[in-house]
């Protein structure tokens, strides 16, 4: 291990230069965000975002750390991180297939057959196919293994019925990894099986789910007698929980585990503060400075903790339960950033006059929406409570709570809810 350092090694510096060149070269073919603009909504510009990812993939900038046999660049995680930094610097939005790259792809790699690798991975990297993850259900949120969507064997196929929810990108996805219950007589974790499902198959219905802020980042997905060939099974029947854990492990890193700001960034707050603080009365400046200082410290603490996790991963470590701490702390920091913004904006924080001011840093609309996004942050991708259990039990080694549901057959009385 070498000494704490935020500078690139010579190799990393050379790689970074190459990435910058490539991004400049292909700039005309990439979606870019305007200054002050938040990440784009995939719903609105699906085709442009698919093209962006395809161009980047062809330039060797997608799947940087994936193995060559799966269509990746066989690079390091440090290189992967550099690409991420340079894309952000160039204001290229998140790749449209980020769910596929971050969660579904690694799951197919780990548990898929050679045929499945062949069929899916290269197309996933180029966003020829966009992917989604179909795990949560209305009656199984934190308690994912309580899911009720069934898959019943019928000849060479399985027939799926049920409902998923909180599915990001389902409205544009071509495929999804789908967790189902195939044996309700076994205990809840033992009767699950994972599939790849064609999102365009008959019987699949996607309905956007409107959130409290008015936007729709998620979908509900309904399955009515959807037939999935057995060749699309990921892992053995009854092994679905084990397969799902691969996906979840990767998800935690993706959501906040790397120390990135959730919600509006602390830099947005800093820009707003420079505009708003001097305009406040003196006593209010004192309080506003406290709020800004506190939010900045929280965001910085989370950011540098993310760097430590990324360092561990780049040294060959696996994403562990510590990533849950990043999401937890990121959520708390996001709340402080939002609170500080509200303190700076005062009435404007709840009373935006017209949509015209959205572009400005101090645009009340952005901060209003940010407030309404916050409650979801503390829930989606693992509630604060579930994350605390994970850290308490897997990192601190504290004993779990007694579980009465774990070993009972799923269809026994009382166990399905």
């Amino acid at each position: 291990m070498s000494r704490v350092d935020f500078d690139d090694t010579p190799d990393e510096a050379a790689y970074r230069a190459r990435v910058r060149d490539l991004l400049a070269e292909h700039a005309a073919d990439l979606v870019h965000l305007d200054a002050g603009e938040e990440a784009a909504d995939a719903r609105q510009q699906e085709q442009a975002l698919r093209r962006t990812q395809r161009v980047l993939a062809d330039a060797g900038l997608v799947g940087v750390a994936w193995a060559a046999e799966h269509g990746g660049q066989a690079g390091t995680l440090a290189q992967q991180a550099i690409v991420g930094q340079e894309l952000a610097r160039a204001r290229v939005p998140s790749l449209i297939n980020h769910i596929g790259l971050g969660m579904c792809g690694p799951t197919v790699v780990a548990h898929g057959t050679p045929e499945q690798h062949e069929r899916y991975l290269a197309r996933l990297l180029r966003a020829d196919d966009v992917w989604c993850q179909l795990f949560s259900e209305p009656a199984s949120g934190s308690d994912l293994a309580a899911l009720r969507t069934t898959a019943v064997r019928d000849g060479e196929d399985w027939v799926v019925n049920g409902q998923k929810v909180w599915t990001t990108l389902a409205h544009v996805a071509d495929f999804g990894v789908l967790l189902t219950r195939t044996d309700p007589d076994r205990p809840k974790h033992g009767g699950l099986t994972m599939f790849v499902v064609d999102m365009h198959a008959p019987g699949v219905t996607v309905r956007p789910l409107r959130q409290m802020g008015g936007q729709s980042d998620f979908n509900e997905v309904f399955f009515d007698d959807v037939r999935i060939p057995d060749s699309e099974r990921l892992g053995e029947p009854g092994e679905g929980w084990r397969v799902a854990l691969t996906t979840l492990l990767n998800e935690r890193v993706a959501v906040g585990g790397g120390g990135n700001d959730l919600g509006l960034s602390v830099e947005s707050l800093a820009r707003l503060a420079r505009e708003a603080v001097p305009a406040l009365p003196a006593e209010r400046q004192v309080l506003a400075r406290q709020a800004v200082g506190r939010a900045a410290v929280a965001a910085l603490a989370n950011r540098y903790t993310g760097y430590r996790r990324l360092t561990a991963i780049s040294q060959g470590g696996l994403p562990g339960p510590e990533a849950s701490a990043g999401k937890l702390a990121g959520t708390a920091a996001a709340k402080l950033v939002s609170d500080a913004g509200v303190r700076l904006l005062g009435d404007d924080a709840v009373f935006a006059v017209g949509p015209g001011d959205d572009g400005r840093e101090g645009g009340a609309g952005r901060w209003q929406r940010n407030q309404a996004w916050l409650p979801g942050i503390a829930i989606a991708g693992g509630t604060d409570e579930v994350l605390r259990n994970i850290i308490g039990e897997r990192v601190l080694g504290l004993p779990p709570e007694p579980r009465e549901d774990k070993h009972r057959p799923f269809n026994a009385a009382g166990s399905t809810r």
Partner: protein, 325 residues
């Protein structure tokens, strides 16, 4: 010493609950976000007499106390009713010496809003008569209202530019201050209702929703956060009653009580609403669920007549001036 509601007030609360639960609902608050009308609306509130609770009987009101109004306002808050009884309570104080206007407040023939400078005013939307303090005088008149995109449409927020004003009461600083304190108490009473309801909704869901083989309300993380929210609501209730009592019976205590209850209401409602969402998990942050409507009310109300920081500073100022000695 006796610190409880009397039977008349309990009856009034029951009647108000019945009225409001028939006339308003979170569903209507949701619809209001998409241009629906605010329910139950001014007409209905006047017809049942709620805009005149604290208007003198001689001016066509009920001549009731602020506590009488507070128990009704709590019920209004439970279903996110609008317009706010805050406006009625505040205007009634300002118009005490102007029976004709007070009568118009009580019978609903005029739609009042009270304006604090260029800040968004409560119930400005649809109002035709505006009360404001200009150069130390209480003025009344018409006004031009600019509406924005408020987080809670039931509050009828608008920035008002008064027009055609005339002086109603010169040198009205003290009157204005008292009316504002009364408004804070009424706002806190509405927030009490909203917060109490948000906790109830959270508790009910925590009993019913299961995870890992048992109701989520059996887990300490859920249970304790609901308890903390509930304790806050009960403490808020005590402050509301005290402040309303003080307005009627111990006016020298009103400034301390009003600032205290306003600060406490802002934070209690915010926590109750956020707890309600968090307890519900994913469903709690959907558009169709009621939780965000309580939350929207919390986010607006915590600023609408000043924020908790401002109220805490007022409390501190009174403490430094000799209160609590």
């Amino acid at each position: 010493m006796n610190f409880d509601l009397d039977t008349d007030q309990l009856d009034a609360a029951a009647g108000a609950e019945q009225f409001f639960s028939g006339q308003a609902s979170p569903a209507q608050a949701r619809a209001a976000l998409e241009e629906g009308p605010v329910a139950p609306g001014r007409r209905a509130l006047a017809d049942i007499g709620f805009t005149g609770i604290t208007v003198a009987e001689s001016a066509g009101g009920a001549g009731g106390s602020l506590l009488d109004l507070a128990v009704v306002a709590e019920q209004a808050g439970r279903v996110l009713a609008g317009p706010s009884l805050v406006t009625a309570a505040r205007a009634a104080v300002l118009l005490a010496d102007h029976p004709e206007l007070a009568q118009a407040l009580a019978d609903g023939s005029r739609a009042f809003a009270v304006v604090d400078g260029d800040r968004p005013a409560l119930d400005a939307v649809g109002a035709d008569t505006f009360l404001a303090l200009v150069d130390g005088d209480l003025v009344v008149g018409g006004g031009a209202v600019v509406t924005g995109q408020p987080m809670d449409a039931t509050r009828g927020l608008g920035v008002v530019t008064p027009t055609d004003t005339r002086v109603l009461t010169p040198d009205a600083g003290a009157l204005w201050a008292r009316a504002r304190d009364v408004a804070l108490v009424a706002l806190a009473a509405e927030d009490l209702g909203t917060a109490g309801r948000a906790v109830e909704v959270g508790v009910a869901y925590a009993k019913e929703r299961h995870a890992f083989g048992r109701p989520i309300g059996s887990y300490q993380a859920v249970k304790h956060s609901l308890v903390d929210a509930w304790v806050g609501v009960e403490q808020l209730r005590s402050l509301v009653w005290w402040a309303a009592w003080a307005a009627d019976r111990a006016p020298e205590e009103l400034p301390l009580a009003a600032a205290s209850v306003a600060a406490f209401a802002a934070e209690t409602l915010e926590r109750a609403a956020e707890t309600c969402i968090q307890v519900h998990g994913g469903i709690g942050f959907t558009w169709e669920h009621d939780a965000h409507l309580y939350w929207r009310r919390a986010k607006v109300d915590r600023l609408v007549l000043g924020d908790a920081a401002g109220h805490h500073d007022v409390v501190a100022g009174l403490v430094l001036a000799g209160a609590l000695s």
